[in-house]
Symmetry: C3
Subunit: 152 residues, 3 copies
Amino acid sequence: MAKTADARLAALEDHEAIRAVIAAYGPLADAGDAQGVAALWCADGEYAPAGYRVAKGRGEIAELIEGETHQALMARGCAHVLSSPAVALNGDEAVATNHSLVLRRKGDGHEVWRASANRWALERCDGRWLIRRRDNHQLDGTAAARALLAFK
Amino acid sequence: MAKTADARLAALEDHEAIRAVIAAYGPLADAGDAQGVAALWCADGEYAPAGYRVAKGRGEIAELIEGETHQALMARGCAHVLSSPAVALNGDEAVATNHSLVLRRKGDGHEVWRASANRWALERCDGRWLIRRRDNHQLDGTAAARALLAFK
Amino acid sequence: MAKTADARLAALEDHEAIRAVIAAYGPLADAGDAQGVAALWCADGEYAPAGYRVAKGRGEIAELIEGETHQALMARGCAHVLSSPAVALNGDEAVATNHSLVLRRKGDGHEVWRASANRWALERCDGRWLIRRRDNHQLDGTAAARALLAFK
């Protein structure tokens, strides 16, 4: 059955909202807005960078931004640059894949520090699209990193 | 004459679908999903990287991913990062321009290997937006590379 | 009050148009299309790269592309790569934040020359979404650079 105009509008709005959540991460992270970053996740959402402890809930996610590593990067000059996600939408849930680059200042220019794969599980939490879990793995030649980018 | 609400919805859906095709390339390429990459093209679509043979049809496009060069990049650790395209939509055809970066692992970080111009001819094939032809040229200072990024 | 279908459509079209303006900048700049770049701004729009004179109006913005620095970059081989913007839409005005990278050719590859923060004030000028002012600051560890990426 053909989708109604309302369902088509709603699907476009879902894509726009999901894109907005992911596009906000880099600017907020580099602005050092820990609460703003945390608010992109569901209250009990998770951020799982491979090789580190999983941050659980907004408090722990905010601590990543407030923590020594991120603050040192910011003081040196850094850019968290994310590519446009490929999004598979399924009702009130979605999975998105994309790349993230972390650049840091070197001399009077910048160098790429890390290039990573990302897999985002998103969900409509409290009526808004937010991040349920972000998995991140440096693209280091391992199958585990590549698997994050695979479509199911 | 003003566009009808249905035509406006359809144009938005076209933009979303075109964006989705281009956003899927990088994740699928870095996941090593040769069939997934090939399925982004029309059955007889072409991928034309400057200085190399033009890959014609899905079989030859899949071979690029399965080939030695790409597999070696994947084993080392690589990221094919594409920027958001500028899209000119014209009925059942569209032209999109953007940049692509290929990063590869170096030490415990990454380096940019190539920065290229891309021009995508897209088409509604079998009712879906797919790639008719992708032209790609490293931004090496030549007019041929710059020309791919020009609007007509 | 719930938004009408027409208002929802119009908001989606606004987001699409704003994204298109920002996505066009990099390709047009690297194609060397000075008039095309300038036409992305309102007639009296401004481009304010930190540490340089503010370019005021389309004539001065076109001169940036025609100028010696940009032409030398183009002759060497360069890529102006912008990330997807986070957009706050407010009637006929919008603010967008994102990153921009400038890469330049080095050997047979490329290096990142600059990674910068951008803040775009956009406006509906003459019925089209265009740039009122672009602020740009290299992410050099200063608070001024980071402030461009902050949400209000």
